[in-house]
Amino acid sequence: MRLAAPVLRQLLTAGAIGVLVFLLMRVIPGDVVDVLGIEGDLTEAEQQALRIELGLDAGWGTQFLRWVGGALAGDLGLSLRYNRPVAEMIGYALPHTLTLAALALGLGLALGVSVAAVAAARPSGVWPGLVQVLNVWSIALPTFCVGLAGILVFSIWLGWLPVRGQILMPVLVLGIDIAGQIAKPLHEELKEILATPFIRSARAKGLGPGAIVLRHVLPNAAGVLSAVSGLILAGLVSGALTMEVLFGLPGLGSLAFQAIAGRDWTVLQSVVVLFALGVIVANLLADLAHRLADPRVR
């Protein structure tokens, strides 16, 4: 079981992130009662009563054990601010974020891999140029800027899409960004593999360039994808957060942003640990996919 050790280490990492996030939030000045107090003109006595009701008067250790104990039993507790179950709020937000991330990743992979593959198969056409354009695009243009420009052009001037609540533009913005990160390194790797002897024998056998790229070259280039996957995932998480806030999507990013602004610690700590778990699981999946695709590491 070569996967057991990395899985265990990653799970320990997730646990440590839970502790870290918990401590980080307790260091932030002000709590949910202060926020509610400013909004609702609560008296000093009312604020104190509310703190006791929410369990915020207990020490950090007690609060932490309460959270961990509940989480392990499947209960993430109530939102301090909205008095709703945290699991319910996450359950509502999670599909939005997963949809955005999955579509963006799918588009990015499809676009990046196909452009790089066609460019490798037809080095004389416009495709290598497209690889370079994608690469420059993703390095030089932050998704925040591209998203705003997209709002201006497609929502305001052309009026094709609503400003808020649509998912098409965030998916395009993040997907093209991911494609740019993939296409260039993959193209370099593909060109290198194409120059190796076993490709020459495949060509001598009479295989066409398309079949060679699909059957012999791409599986061997899977290592490049798993090498850039960590970077892409980190960018995808941060990008999804920004896009959700920018386009007013009700996902985990918007939830986390509101929880920070409202000092809603029970929501925030569960969301952040979920994010960390998501990145960890995705990294393991990328590793697994690499093992399955690349004959040399199988």
């Binding site: 980080l24 932050p142 925040f144 800027c145 201006l152 952040v272 990145v279």
Partner: protein, 290 residues
Amino acid sequence: MPEAPLSGWRLADSLDGPASAPVSPWRVPLLLLGAVALLALLGPLIAPQDPLWQDLAARNVSPRPGAWLGTDNLGRDVLSRLLAGARITVLVASGATALALAVGAALGLTALAAGALPASLVFGVIDLIRALPSVLLGLALMVALGTGVGPVTIAIGLSFAPTFAVVARQAWLRERAAAYVEAAVASGTHPAVILRRHIAPNVAGALITQAAIILPRAVTTESVLSFLGLGVSPETPTWGRMIAAGLPFVERAPHAVLAPVIALSVLTLLLALAGDRIRAAADPLRMGTR
């Protein structure tokens, strides 16, 4: 078939292509960046208006002579606000990058120098922090530290510091294993001399390269934070806040949003181009190949 470069890929490869012009164009982004820095520095002197002065009779006015970039929803001059915002952006982004480099490198190198146990402890914590989404970390730090130029700089600086520690460790480990360091050790050179003469210059090169990568990201992060209302104080004009304030009125006054968006895109583009040239210049493997 041309040999594919083995060690990474750079933006310049994409821009120049194999048959690049004989005149090195790499000064252009640097010159333009110098111009931006100068504009940011001289902003208050050359701005046509006080960036905070409101002319409520002339709200959302389109660009025209006298108000070259128009006015925003409170009748404030967009050009003057853009210049004032440039100042904040340049200040915060360069300050944050310098802070991240100093904190990350100091932490990482001290831990490495102190031995295996402190190093594994410090880098364990750093790896944890790196597993958190950087936007969330920046947001949390921002809330913890409060608003203002200083706190924003510190929040962005601290959230990027771990990447510098990791880069310092990579460079350190690479140099420690290098044959010439081994030779220096074998010939009895004092460890402090090896550190100063052989390892430090190469680690510094890696850190500067990383700073060139981080600087445009710091610019974007500053804008995102102030767009979210968490940047410097609400009265101070910043690009992110100009965008946030202009969006509700964008149909009547697109210029009030367009101006900061274009300014932000151009600045990050220039920084990416210039940073790429710096990386090429700092990379000893590629020196003289171009």
